[in-house]
Point group: C2
Chain length 318, copies 2
């Protein structure tokens, strides 16, 4: 069985063909045009998938389903992009447009939700019914599966855990509110927190690495691992912020596993186990209820594509 | 079709017989004994239901199912009370004990979850699939239905939205953490906030009513409605707190409706519409996404019993 996956981003649109086990047979990408229309995106995507099929010697009729992960508010039931800032589209009937090029079913969802399905089908949460994935990047994405089903909210407007208020009247957020989780726990926020500490401790190892290696989320971790007090303070506070936003979601969902994805999850066990300790200290019923499992997400570079493939596999086998 | 509902509380245990439409045919209650055992509770409950059946001239064989709402961590799948502080029980196989007295199925859930099911079956959310209920009382209870199913978390340990941190390092909470939603938005918290204001403004109408009528959640509302600045300040801040904790949950679930229950919801539209305005100002995508509907819960005095009956109706017809 062959499935197609499409990972739509603001910079590029990636396509692949894969098996039901998530083995990628062929992949390619094209640039996201500035004035992309919905029909144009469907046409370019279909052409890309069809050329992949030719390359991999797969007949088009062998493609069982297409899955697409799209940033923004996506109404999977209606097959619509309700609103996407990244690709500048709203009320775009993407499934209808895709169906002009494919006879098989096409499934669309928000990309963070698709990533959670990807981990549940192919990755660190394989076979689990209750999964909470946070992706720490430019923002904080959340993908949630409860009782085996995605939490998408009415018309796809939910699953925006990155905009949970963790500190009333706190840091300003890109969404216009103050104190959002994302304003404290995104990679962007970590850079801002590091910059502030560098200003305060210009003689620290942190400040030296920041100057030598440039602004990167790795710098505070490298400084902390070397025992630098300024680096340790930045990382400890950041861990507290990451755990603070997880706490509310975990109290509600108590999932089988909490997965952390995005670039910062590459800091590995040093970071993940710190978050786990802090989270298990502040969740409701700590010491009475079983500990919450926290793991790094497994699907790395192909997480977006495999999330989209997982949507297709899940949809076709529902 | 006749169903039995049982509302277990720390003070009393209420039982009823009702139709599938939620019409209560007969009800009674007995005191929650201090040293209640699981077997003892099942025996007393069964006796109460059987005497109600005799009173209402219903044959025991006509009872299709029994539903029970129980405070604390309840594992509905296993039919166990995992941990309940209010009735001092843990790892209690309540369904197994109840089955010694009844041939029909017995369903148990946490009482806040049962209340949400009650509203979805008989009350303000009738027929809706995605419902978020908060109950503002001694604490803040949350009951959530998403995709038509209760969110209970692993082993019934979830749905504890009252312990979402809304202010890091904030007010101490009974759970041992700081800054929990419950520490700001419960009726108990409102009394504390009022008390503080009374100390600061001893000459206010608020202080006078507080002295004359005693410590009650109605006092700040009465003072606010009379235009007293101290009362207005207490109520406005309280509305902000109630909305702050709802914000994170609404961003994730985007339910069909948010219901507010508990004594404070009796303040009616004055309170509910203030919470709605504030919430719709701070949710993600305000102005882009459709407004969030906020309503008072409909099931008042019999909310616990009808929640339990709804569990039985839903279970028997699943």
């Amino acid at each position: 069985m062959i499935y197609a996956g499409v990972d739509v981003g603001g910079m590029s649109i990636k396509c692949c063909l894969a098996t039901e086990k998530g083995e990628i047979l062929a992949k390619d990408s094209f640039k996201t045009e500035k004035d992309l229309t919905c029909a144009g995106m469907a046409e370019q995507t279909a052409a890309c998938i069809k050329s992949l099929a030719a390359k991999a010697q797969v007949a088009e009729s062998e493609i069982v389903a297409v899955g697409m992960g799209i940033p923004g508010t996506v109404d999977g039931k209606k097959g619509m992009i309700v609103y996407s800032n990244n690709i500048r589209m709203d009320h775009a009937p993407i499934v209808k447009e895709m169906k002009k090029h494919f006879a098989c079913p096409v499934y669309v969802e928000n990309d963070a939700n698709a990533a959670a399905v990807g981990e549940a089908v192919f990755g660190a949460a394989k076979g689990l019914n209750d999964v909470l994935l946070i992706t720490l990047g430019t923002g904080v994405g959340t993908g949630i599966i409860a009782n085996g089903r995605m939490i998408t909210g009415k018309g796809g407007t939910g699953a925006e855990g990155g905009h949970t208020m963790i500190r009333m009247n706190g840091e300003p957020c890109t969404c216009g509110n103050r104190g959002c989780y994302e304003a404290y726990a995104s990679a962007t926020a970590l850079l801002r927190q590091t910059e502030r500490m560098v200003q305060r401790r210009p003689d620290s190892l942190l400040a030296r690495l920041w100057a030598e290696r440039g602004r990167s989320g790795r710098v505070p971790f490298d400084a902390a691992k070397a025992g630098d007090p300024a680096g340790l303070k930045v990382v400890r506070d950041y861990v507290k912020y990451v755990a603070a936003g997880l706490q509310g979601m975990v109290n509600i969902f108590r999932p089988d596993v909490v997965l952390i994805g995005g670039g910062i999850s590459n800091q590995g066990d040093y970071f993940i186990s710190s978050v786990s300790r802090r989270l298990n200290h502040i969740v409701f019923g700590a010491g009475i209820n079983p500990r919450v499992k926290v793991r790094a997400a497994e699907l790395k570079n192909d997480a977006g594509l495999l999330g989209a493939v997982a949507l297709a596999v899940k949809g076709a086998n529902a």
